[in-house]
């Protein structure tokens, strides 16, 4: 060890020489192939938001088919009739081949059933793996975590860049799959076998460049990306915390990202194993997920058999359930930061929050089979998974309660980030509480695969996580750019989004309890049970207001997009700490330079010291030393001083 320290000091001059070279980075190295955690975070954020909007567009198309089944779509219809009139002559180049390939889910402007399946599968895949995870974990984690712990960058900046580019390759592969013959994957976002083993195969499909195979290949890159990211996050949080920033002084956001990183690290590899196996099934004729005697289109498959479709479900949901917490925990973290900041109070129950998030992380690995009640598992196994599923609701409720109690008695500032956060709390509450009936085997047998399930998890992910993400964008935007986003247009974005979310998803609970199946491609038209009336409309008729709300919500995102880009140049200029917050990222300049801090920060206190008694300001930043008078006053409170 002695040798190493002496050599390190010896080594220092070289390192500084290298640093000076780095200052001369060109535009490409600085903004595109960057290794700076802030640039990578912003890259992840913008790409993720674009993917979110793209995934939402797929759903807006599907909503037409559900509300007006079999009718010609607006916009798509005219475009496709134009393309049909401009068929290329035989042997000639088709200048419209790209839009023609992209519109393969439609025939004469009407959505086909395969097209509906394809859009549905890709909506789920893109929203979760290319939208929410990159924004919630990679974008906010990359941008905020090193700043909040007072680090100059991530521990492995090159690995960080590799993570982003692996994500980029995965995203491009997923997008490419829309243009291959036969269109994108159709097996649902869960890609259940044996269906996905045999779909997109046979005449008319390329052996490798087909929707499902590309879905699998794209996933391998996305998993690699999140693996590299997770390793980097955990190492950074362990190694690069500023002096004095002990574990119990970490902002809750950092804790949330820390646990999320562990979930990604340990839950994704079994899915990768499953994906490798499905890839082998599709390309090397193995039968991991195919039982013997499968008959497809009237002909027996030439396969060895001996596989199990259930194996895929186990491996998929072993990822799938922790993934739910990957989606929600970063949002919890964002909400905690903004809530404390705008209620001007310390976060209530910091320690309970930390332990709850750790317990959630652990329990989320042993609840996966509650997605599989319908597979007919034995009562012993289902009793185990029902118990763990109910147990995991305890820490979730602790977290939500702590958030609500934090509001109690605060002088709340309702700025735009806070609006999103206050909406998050009840929305997540609805999503969480409606999950409890699904945790019980007996109730789930009825509700499974109905719109009830759709409404339940969308309440968690859409007005839950995505509201949290919007809050985070508005909150940290001044740190990234030095300017505020426009307050008025932020509210124009917020209110229609909140109203539309509820018009979309509340009626789905009713549709689901009516028994309407989530995969009906005609929206349930003509099915007896969807003809039942609820509140004046039949189950099927409810599709129309839901769809209109979805389209209006699409329009409501336009103010956000304009606001986001307009404010980069024209937003109100602000100082380094416009929200008067306490955590370390606000001690860095806005935007922070390469290397982040002008003065290396030292933490002297906990993350949420708002409205300390006996102080002029109502916030005390983590890097403010504890004076002797305050120290003696606090002697009675060892928890705060540490």
């Amino acid at each position: 060890m002695d040798a190493s320290t002496s050599i390190d000091t010896h080594h220092d001059p070289h390192a500084h020489a290298g640093e000076h070279e780095h200052h001369e980075l060109g535009w490409w190295r600085k903004y595109i192939f960057s290794t700076d955690h802030k640039v990578i975070g912003i890259q992840y954020g913008i790409c993720g938001l674009i993917f979110l909007f793209f995934g939402f567009c797929l759903m807006m198309l599907m909503r037409w088919q559900l509300a007006y089944p079999g009718q010609v779509l607006p916009v798509i219809g005219p475009i496709q009739s134009f393309l049909d009139q401009h068929q290329p002559a035989a042997g000639h180049f088709d200048p419209w081949f790209l839009p023609r390939a992209f519109l393969s889910p439609f025939t004469k402007g009407v959505m086909t059933s395969e097209g509906y399946n394809s859009l549905g599968a890709m909506h789920g895949t893109i929203m979760i793996f290319l939208g929410v995870v990159p924004v919630a974990f990679a974008a906010f984690g990359n941008f905020v975590v090193p700043l909040q712990i007072g680090a100059p960058d991530m521990t492995f900046p090159k690995v960080n860049a590799a993570s982003f580019w692996a994500f980029g390759v995965g995203g491009v592969i997923m997008l490419t799959s829309f243009f291959v013959p036969g269109g994108a994957a159709k097996g649902g976002w869960t890609s259940y076998t044996p269906l996905s083993d045999i779909s997109d195969k046979g005449p008319g499909f390329h052996p490798f460049l087909n929707g499902q195979t590309l879905w699998l290949l794209g996933f391998i890159f996305l998993i690699t990306s999140s693996l590299l990211g997770a390793i980097n996050f955990i190492t950074t949080i362990i190694q690069l915390r500023a002096k004095g920033l002990t574990w119990m002084r970490l902002p809750f956001f950092v804790w949330a990202q820390f646990v999320t990183a562990f979930l990604l690290l340990l839950a994704f590899p079994p899915l990768e194993a499953a994906i490798v196996m499905q890839l082998m099934d599709r390309t090397a004729a193995t039968s991991f997920f195919l039982p013997a005697g499968m008959i497809v289109n009237g002909a027996p498959l030439h396969i060895s058999g001996g596989g199990s479709p259930l194996l895929w479900q186990h491996l998929f949901w072993f990822l799938g359930h922790p993934e739910v917490y990957v989606l929600i925990l970063p949002a919890f973290g964002i909400v905690a930061e903004i809530l404390a900041n705008n209620s001007r109070k310390p976060l209530w129950g910091y320690k309970s929050l930390v332990f709850s998030v750790l317990v959630i992380g652990f329990l989320s690995f042993i609840v996966w089979a509650h997605h599989m009640w319908l597979t007919g598992m034995g009562s012993t196994v289902s009793a185990f998974f029902q118990t763990t599923t109910l147990l995991i609701s305890i820490p979730s409720v602790i977290i939500l309660s702590a958030f609500f109690i934090s509001l109690w008695g605060g002088s709340i500032r309702f700025n735009v980030p806070m609006l999103w956060v206050t909406a998050f709390l009840p929305m997540f509450g609805i999503g969480g509480l409606t999950g409890i009936p699904l945790a019980f085997n007996s109730a789930d047998l009825y509700l499974h695969d109905t719109y009830y399930v759709i409404a339940h998890f969308h309440y968690i992910v859409a007005p839950g996580t995505i509201f949290g993400l919007f809050a985070g964008v508005y909150y940290w935007y001044p740190k990234a750019t030095g300017r505020m986003m426009n307050e008025f247009w932020g509210k124009v974005h917020f209110w229609p989004s909140l109203i539309c979310m509820n018009v979309i998803f509340l009626p789905m609970f009713l549709q689901g309890m009516l028994g309407m199946h989530r995969r009906w491609y005609d929206g349930g038209q003509g099915w007896t049970l969807s003809g039942e009336h609820i509140w004046g409309l039949t189950g099927f008729q409810w599709n129309t207001p839901i769809s209109w709300a979805a389209w209006i919500m699409g329009l409501a995102q336009i103010p956000f997009i304009i606001n986001f880009f307009w404010s980069i140049k024209h937003g109100k200029k602000v100082n380094d700490n416009p929200w008067e917050a306490t955590t370390l990222e606000w001690t860095a300049p806005s935007p922070p330079p390469h290397g982040n801090f002008v003065v290396t920060p030292v933490a002297y206190r906990g993350p949420y010291e708002y409205s300390l008694p006996g102080r002029e300001k109502d916030f005390t930043m983590q890097n403010e030393p504890v004076e002797s008078a305050e120290r003696s006053r606090r002697a009675a409170e060892p928890m705060l001083v540490h």
Partner: protein
């Protein structure tokens, strides 16, 4: 800007960054191979009687490969220790030995073990036809003894044109020794030494055949797992070898001259990876070759 603790340790954790990084990576690798091994267990428990083959791999060759990998794990530690003692020359030789072990392992896999499988045929018989080929299967004795029935006859296919030509009504197969003398108790357990197909040719009518396939991944859930897991393991060995070659080349000597501890750290994390790859093989070997 310099990232702290890339070479020296952080006082309160006692670790440098890459060491945490590699252990986290190995944790995720455990989950990856854990997923595959769980799949193996799942499929094996699910297999119908006679469907899970035994004794098809070459145990002495597998044992040799195991020894080679274990030896390479020793040499990589010696290489690291040599660096710590600042003896570059010794490091260079130990690293070379490690690389050669890795390459030998891959060579045996890719040029000896795998290709054989693609020339070896297995014929699965229709359940109704099992009786007809009793002389090769010896199932009545096996039933008596409470053993799983044989449903497949394997060996070297003498008329591969029969696979394509519908006018040829039967397969001629040079039997594996087990099927020549199916009632010999010596054949109840897999042979330790590899025995090639015999000259004893059996004629099997096509209408009795359920399926004929080589011993490729399409043959059975067993070979599907075998090729997937050993393939993925082989890819890890290859990755390790490539990294070791980089560390053995002159470019790393320059790093050694600048900061020997940095190179020692690199060898240490890659050595940890290498031990993990070795450890995976310690599971692969009994699961596929012995059990």
């Amino acid at each position: 800007m310099e990232i702290p603790y890339t070479i020296s340790t952080r006082p309160d954790t006692g670790l440098w960054n890459a060491k945490i990084g590699i252990w986290l990576f190995l944790a995720s690798e455990v989950m990856l191979f854990g997923g595959l091994f769980s799949a193996y267990v799942f499929l094996r428990l699910d297999a119908q009687p006679g469907e899970w083959p035994h004794g098809l791999l070459n145990v002495p060759v597998g044992t040799m490969n195991t020894a080679i990998l274990i030896m390479s794990s020793v040499t990589v530690v010696l290489a690291w220790a040599a660096l710590k003692m600042r003896r570059y020359r010794a490091y260079w030789w130990y690293m070379l030995a490690t690389i050669l072990c890795g390459v030998t392992f891959l060579f045996v896999k890719l040029y000896y073990e795998w290709p054989q499988k693609f020339e070896h045929y297995g014929i699965f018989l229709k359940p109704a036809a099992l009786e007809k080929y009793e002389q090769y299967l010896g199932n009545s004795r096996r039933t008596e003894k409470g053993m799983e029935p044989r449903i497949e006859i394997s060996g070297h296919l003498h008329n591969p044109e029969a696979l394509k030509d519908p006018n040829i009504k039967e397969y001629e197969i040079g039997l594996d020794p087990v099927y020549v003398d199916p009632n010999n108790p010596a054949n109840d357990r897999p042979h330790f030494l590899y025995v090639p197909p015999t000259d004893h040719v059996a004629t099997i009518e096509k209408e009795d055949v359920q399926r004929i396939d080589t011993f490729g991944p399409w043959h059975s859930a067993y070979f599907a797992s075998y090729f997937t897991i050993t393939g993925l393991h082989g890819a890890h060995v290859l990755g390790g070898v490539i990294v070791f070659v980089y560390m053995w080349l002159p470019v790393s000597k320059r790093l050694y001259q600048r900061n020997p501890e940095h190179l020692a750290n690199r060898v240490e994390v890659c050595g940890l990876f290498w031990h993990f790859v070795d450890l995976v093989w310690i599971f692969v070997f009994p699961l596929f070759y012995l059990l």
